[in-house]
């Protein structure tokens, strides 16, 4: 029986080619996601280990609240008193103690633009002791005076700097000029995950980052008499609780955990899209095996007639599926490694130089790829295999036209049930009914897709009749195509369903994006009153130089000004960390309408808290009540609620205080992230004033209302484009499915096509017949997808009602474009089968047995 199976496979090699390809594509993404993130993890592990292994202990200021991992990793730590160095050097067992100061600073490129990559711009003081051992001087020499600086090798090479030249550097207070004296590297890497690094002399760094007689990090080397953990305890006892002491191993582990959080997110995103691709690939498998089984039903009947059991026939088909799955998985792992390399190259081109440790192919990756690739293929082949096993021996004697007569009753019922269960899981997940809402949403969506796919044959007939109505009146090719599309409803439906999935997801995302855009636009219209908004940078990771706000506050062209700052504090009652926004209470309402309901912003100016009204009522507090907070350095403090306000969308937090209060409750609070300003009279003059103030902050940007609105829309649009690009894989696989189904159908209809050619169909007509069929299938799938996607979109928007997305916006134009694009893509997918059909030898066709 095994021989029969493998012969069957080899005999129909070309039929399984595209199926294998579809599974390969899915496995590629699965393997690629793992290989990429494992490689990054491994490389960082190496990098961190070499970076930290020089010292045994690291002393830093205690960490603030652990909220955002990436921010925590790169944000400069607080400075602490330099005296600890003396204290530590007296501890028994300590051989060397050395401290550095870290901060942020960005270089200005030779063309005058600031160098602000999609990553932090780091700065540190140089030390030739153990504190500076994490960087190596690749070229030149370390800075020896306050006017000298070193630059990371990646920036140095990319922008063509030269040693000895003057470089401008954006420092917290503005722009300063330094002589470039050296180039730094980090082990093999030229930079740290795309971050730039400026290395200053210690006294300069202390000045720049406000760390007089202080360090942000101290490295300790033991004399080897005791192990690092014991030394840590000794040092910790000596320095007291104001600083944190960690062993190098713990430090590596802590940093590694931060990086793993980032790579974990990356791999989750990639795996979600891989999952969609694999899922769609499964449809292709169902279809191909279904068609091939139908075409070989005589062969199976013959096997049964000569004594094969049902199980044996079932096994024949499953063995074929197993072979396809194993092959596809093996290829997919290889291409996955390639994909990971490609992604690294893309990241590199974007300026993120990953330290290279080579591709890491973990056993887990290989196992997962095989399980996914083979599992999906086997599961998808199960139904066709069962159908093959049900072929009766007598059918060997009957000439069998592919029959579509079997009623759809049970299938439809199962489909409806699945769609309903899927839909409710989706809704429950969106409503956050479980601990794993995302998983439930995914499960619900997948189930709904299967349900709709099972239901779709019922509508495939009428749909192809409807879609084909005009083309059928128009030409015979159109008429025949229409009949062909309606001929095997299951086949048409499952081919279309594969496309449905991709389009449903794209449509749902499109509707979600449009609705978010709409909500944002609404809140901009209602709340945004400032004439100008000044943003430190697009990513929001750097602050504005302190001088900007100071200068603008005194400028007569500016009427009202409020910085926006962020800080964090722990809500003592609820135990969770909340974001607090600091504003200028006297001007904020003219810049950003807060919609004060009770109390007044004057109270906030006096040190009270403004609380968003819904949050206030949820917590049952009124104006005049006190709330207890705990700061990151462990102090408890009491804030009185001075006002309640309506809107949070623009501010991004329900807790608003004055700038002074923010500085008090969160000493680590960041500087000005955004400045809002109103023009005194002339907008042009105000803008000139801002431009002037921003000469010390070339990375910052200023926008008026219209520009800001556009920026937001562009950002959301970009996110949408990224999603569509990732979902394109699923759509391409679905298109492969169309190619595959039509190629098999053309093969199956050899005689019919020959007959048509014999009675006068010419080649262009033959081609058109196949092309039209593809258009019907793809448009049917696309319409189904848009319909399902609209339902999904509705469900998501409904669930986001609390987040301020109040109405669903269906961008009909854009969805129509998707359907048209799907039709064109379907045409392209059918080019090859159409060409094959038209090239078919008339005589072969007529004389085929």
């Amino acid at each position: 029986m095994l021989r029969v199976a493998l012969k069957g496979l080899l005999g129909h090699k070309s039929r399984f080619l595209l199926t294998t390809l579809a599974v390969v594509a899915g496995v590629t993404f699965v393997a690629g996601a793992f290989v990429l993130t494992d490689s990054i993890d491994q490389a960082f592990d190496d990098l961190l280990t070499t970076g930290y292994e020089q010292a045994d202990l690291y002393v830093t200021a205690p960490e603030g609240f652990e909220t955002s991992a990436t921010e925590a990793t790169f944000a400069a730590r607080e400075a602490f008193d330099a005296d600890v160095v003396d204290t530590i050097s007296e501890v028994e067992g300590v051989a060397e103690v050395d401290g550095i100061v870290e901060g942020t600073a960005a270089f200005v490129a030779p063309d005058g633009d600031p160098i602000v990559p999609q990553a932090p711009t780091l700065a540190a003081s140089w030390s030739d002791g153990v504190g500076g051992a994490w960087v190596s001087v690749r070229d030149g020499r370390p800075p020896e005076g306050r006017d000298e600086v070193m630059m990371d090798a990646a920036t140095f090479q990319r922008f063509g700097f030269s040693l000895g030249a003057q470089v401008e550097v954006l420092v917290p207070d503005g722009v300063a000029s330094y002589t470039l004296v050296g180039v730094t590297g980090f082990g093999d890497a030229d930079n740290l995950l795309g971050a730039t690094l400026a290395t200053f002399d210690l006294s300069e760094a202390r000045d720049l980052f406000g760390a007089q007689e202080a360090y942000t990090e101290v490295s300790v080397v033991g004399d080897g008499s005791i192990d690092p953990a014991a030394l840590r305890d000794r040092v910790a006892a000596a320095v007291g609780g104001d600083v944190t002491v960690m062993t190098a191993t713990d430090r590596v582990a802590a940093d590694q955990a931060d990086i793993s959080e980032f790579t974990g997110l990356l791999s989750t995103v990639l795996l979600v899209f891989a999952g969609v691709a694999v899922f769609v690939g499964g449809f292709l498998v169902v279809n191909t095996f279904g068609i091939v089984v139908a075409q070989r039903s005589r062969e199976f009947a013959l096997l049964r007639a000569v004594g094969a059991s049902r199980r044996q026939v079932l096994a024949t088909v499953l063995v074929e599926a197993l072979a396809v799955g194993l092959l596809a998985s093996a290829i997919g792992i290889a291409t996955g490694v390639g994909l990971a390399a490609l992604l690294v190259a893309i990241l590199d081109a974007m300026g993120i130089d990953l330290p290279t440790a080579g591709a890491v192919l973990a056993a887990r990756t290989v196992i997962a790829s095989f399980v996914v690739g083979t599992g999906v293929t086997l599961v998808a082949a199960l139904a066709p295999a069962r159908r093959a096993s049900k072929v009766l021996p007598i059918e060997a004697l009957r000439g069998s036209e592919t029959a579509d007569a079997a009623p759809l009753g049970r299938r439809t019922l199962v489909g409806a049930a699945l769609a309903m269960v899927g839909g409710s899981s989706l809704l429950a997940g969106l409503a956050g009914a479980t601990a794993q809402p995302i998983a439930l949403v995914g499960f619900g969506a997948a189930l709904s897709f299967v349900g709709v796919a099972l239901l779709s044959p019922v509508i495939a007939g009428p749909a192809s009749r409807l879609l084909g109505w005009l083309p059928a009146r128009w030409s015979v090719a159109g008429k025949l195509a229409r009949q062909n599309a309606g001929r095997d409803r299951r086949r048409t439906a499952s081919t279309a369903s594969a496309l449905m999935i991709g389009l449903a997801l794209v449509s749902a995302v499109t509707i979600l994006t449009a609705s978010v855009q709409g909500a944002l636009s609404d809140s901009l219209t209602e709340q945004f009153r400032a004439d100008l908004i000044i943003q430190a940078d697009q990513m929001g990771t750097r602050d504005l130089p302190r001088g900007v706000a100071v200068q603008l506050a005194d400028d007569p062209a500016i009427a009202g000004l409020s910085p926006i700052r962020f800080g964090q504090v722990e809500d003592a009652a609820e135990g969770d960390v909340v974001n607090v926004v600091g504003v200028e209470p006297r001007t904020i309402d003219d810049l950003l309408s807060m919609g004060v309901q009770e109390g007044s912003l004057d109270a906030v100016d006096q040190g009270a808290l403004a609380l968003q009204a819904d949050v206030a009522s949820d917590r049952g507090v009124d104006v005049g009540d006190d709330l207890i907070f705990r700061t990151s350095d462990g102090r408890e403090l009491l804030l009185q609620v001075g006002a309640t306000f309506a809107s949070t969308e623009m501010l991004g937090s329900a807790y608003v205080v004055s700038l002074d209060t923010l500085a008090e409750i969160d000493p680590r609070s960041r500087g000005d992230v955004v400045l809002l300003a109103n023009a005194a009279e002339d907008l042009g003059a105000a803008r000139d004033a801002v431009d002037e103030a921003l000469t010390i902050a070339p990375a910052a940007s200023v926008s008026d209302q219209a520009e800001f609105r556009q920026q937001n829309e562009d950002q959301i649009g970009q996110a949408l484009n990224l999603m569509i690009a990732l979902l394109a894989l699923a759509i391409i696989i679905a298109l492969l499915g169309i190619t595959n189904t039509l190629a098999l159908a053309v093969l199956e209809r050899t005689r019919e096509i020959g007959l048509l050619r014999a009675v006068g169909m010419n080649r262009p007509q033959t081609r058109r017949m196949v092309l039209w069929e593809a258009v019907f299938v793809s448009v049917f799938g696309a319409l189904l997808g848009v319909a399902v996607g609209t339902l999904f979109g509705w469900a998501i928007v409904q669930a986001l009602g609390d987040e301020g997305i109040t109405r669903m916006i269906v961008p009909v134009g854009q969805l129509t474009v998707y359907v048209v694009v799907a039709a064109i893509a379907g045409l392209i997918a059918a080019v090859l089968p159409a060409w094959k059909a038209s090239r078919m030898n008339v005589l072969d066709a007529v004389t085929v047995e």
Partner: protein, 262 residues
């Protein structure tokens, strides 16, 4: 009929089909098969020609080449005075559409189309209008009126072959080729179909060329050719079933003279 590739001045005098020194070789080298080995043949307008011969004698090959479904290795075929030599696929398609009709042994109809649609298919493909009167006449003659909305799967074999015949005739082709058209039919249905083809030849001057292995079928024709090893070995005018059987006995060497086709 619109512009023919070549318009001969005296169309009435040209035979419907003229085959000259037809040679067809399949394959190359030592394994090559000479399926047609120099055949000359003329089918006058309005005549009904039958072709017989043992299995493998080249009947189907001859029919396919004459009907613009296949190309000769050498020699020429003219339909209506137009040589098929060197015609492009497009031109051959047009010949098939306008001047040639077919009835195959089986699988004559497009399964997704109704009888009506199958009959008018060549016209639809050509984008030509259906001549209502001719359609009605053919449909009534073949007794297909109440089957027009049926699909092939819903019709008997005899009905299907009659639909095929109707389709072959609807375009008023120069010649209708039929390859064992009754091969899959019971004798009564076969007789009906053959009678119809004969009547078409006699009453409206429809030229018909038919391959058969059945002496009774051959007796419907005006003339009968015997093929063996790719050559015409004998012919018979106004054949009767007995005369055919008689003649067949002469080809003792080919044991399965009346063999079961292919």
């Amino acid at each position: 009929m619109s512009s023919a590739p070549v318009d001969l001045p005296d169309a009435a005098m040209t035979p419907a089909v003229r085959v000259t020194s037809a040679v067809k070789v399949y394959g190359e080298g030592p394994t090559a098969v000479r399926a047609l080995d120099g055949i000359d043949l003329q089918v006058p307008r309005g005549s009904f020609l039958a072709i017989m011969g043992p299995s493998g004698s080249g009947k189907s090959t001859l029919l396919h080449c004459a009907a613009a479904l296949d190309r000769l290795t050498s020699g020429s075929v003219e339909i209506d005075g137009t040589s098929l030599d060197g015609l492009s696929d497009r031109q051959l398609t047009r010949m098939r559409r306008e001047r040639i009709g077919f009835v195959f042994q089986s699988y004559n109809l497009v399964p997704t189309l109704t009888a009506h649609e199958n009959i008018t298919l060549p016209l639809d493909l050509a984008g030509a209008k259906v001549d209502r009167e001719r359609f009605d006449q053919i449909v009534d003659t073949l007794a297909l009126r109440d089957r027009l909305t049926h699909r092939p799967a819903e019709m008997s074999g005899g009905q299907q072959q009659r639909v095929a015949a109707a389709r072959a005739l609807i375009t008023r082709p120069t010649v209708v080729f039929a390859d064992e058209p009754t091969g899959a039919l019971d004798s009564r249905s076969g007789a009906e179909l053959l009678g119809f083809l004969r009547d078409a030849a006699r009453t409206v001057g429809q030229t018909v060329v038919m391959v058969t292995h059945d002496p009774v079928s051959a007796s419907y024709a005006d003339r009968l050719l015997f093929l063996a090893d790719g050559r015409v070995v004998d012919e018979l005018d106004g054949p009767t079933a007995d005369a055919v059987l008689d003649r067949m006995k002469r080809f003792e060497g080919n044991d399965d003279a009346a063999g079961e086709g292919r």
